[in-house]
Symmetry: C2
Subunit: 185 residues, 2 copies
DNA sequence: CTTACCATGTAAGGCGTTACATGATTCA
DNA sequence: TGAATCATGTAACGCCTTACATGGTAAG
């Protein structure tokens, strides 16, 4: 209760969809979840070991001729643990937007230099929006194959909507900063 | 360079606008910056002490008849330190949206229970949107009094735009989850 | 043959939250 | 008189990132 180490549930959630190795978990987080979550190997592997120790997951080493690989599966206990957490109300959503911080204090360096951050932000978001829309297109076409696709689609749509509004904001911000920079001269 | 403890710059940024006490800094963060940043006393007070130790801020104890209060001011060195950081490219914007995590793994508990999270999210965002719009209205009316208002306005507009798109997404998500819940029965 | 990717982990250390500790003042 | 707010800090502890360490395989 006191301890809600989120990474445990992120992993358990991914394992509820399919068996995965630590490496694959990292990739899922970096691609599918990257729009609202992040994690490094330094948190994934130890969490995986804990999960096994607590009986929420089991590890099976696949001994192939080429390469050894550790595949993790969720247990019945793990499903229960995950479900309880999923039903609990959300504790905290947080964003730490360094971009906004630098915008907020922009007066210190002026409109022109602040605009650089807006432009960099715009470029980054535009690229990620393209990726997200590709994912959504794929999901739309295969939606009925797997029950989990609806939920995946929902988070993709969340990303698309917010990213689009970010881009709108960038246009507005650039405009206002441009006008200010003219007054500054 | 290696050390980019963001809280230092958050405080320095706030002090670049006006002299503040630790308590007031906390309040600024919880009201004005809450849409894109957060911090607790346990990070603010030690950071303030470090800032003074490094010559980026000075502390003056105001001995009033009623109550003692420590007011911090930014130094010339502090301005320099802040400016350098402000001009550096953004390292990382991150969001950790527990709500999206619970949506993503929603299949585990089903559409109806997942919808509860969407509704709670919607309620929370709707309230915060009202606050943000109030701030924006005030800022619009006093924009020319202080050069920093433009930047404040920009971040408020960012919050408003994203929150509005969150609310749109909530409607869409509720609709899709409702439809799924009918199939589930 | 060398770069990129697959693959698994550990160690150190930073950063920050929560909880604790304390106490004055204001307002209903 | 009791709750809320003002006000300042510390201690413990937890979580996570970064960097390190290691090595196989695939593709160009």
């Amino acid at each position: 209760m006191a301890n809600t180490k989120k990474i445990d549930f992120v992993i358990l959630g991914l394992l509820s969809h399919e068996d995965l190795s630590g490496y694959e978990i990292k990739r899922r987080i970096d691609t599918t979840l990257k729009y609202f979550w992040g994690a490094s190997y330094g948190s994934i592997y130890p969490a995986l070991a804990d999960l096994v120790k607590n009986g929420f997951a089991v590890k099976q080493v696949i001994e192939s001729s080429e390469r050894n690989k550790a595949l993790y599966s969720i247990t019945e206990e793990g499903h229960k643990h995950l479900s309880i957490w999923l039903e609990d109300p959300i504790e905290k959503d947080e964003l730490r937007y360094e971009t906004m911080l630098k915008i907020f204090f922009g007066n210190e360096i002026g409109a022109l230099k602040t605009m650089k951050h807006v432009e960099a932000f715009e470029d980054k978001i535009a690229i990620e929006l393209i990726n997200l829309e590709k994912s959504k297109d794929i999901l739309d076409s295969i939606q009925d194959i797997d029950d989990t696709h609806l939920y995946y689609l929902l988070t993709a749509e969340f990303g698309i909507k917010t990213y689009k509004s970010y881009l709108e904001w960038c246009i507005l911000a650039k405009d206002k900063l441009r006008k200010r920079s003219l007054k500054d001269d």
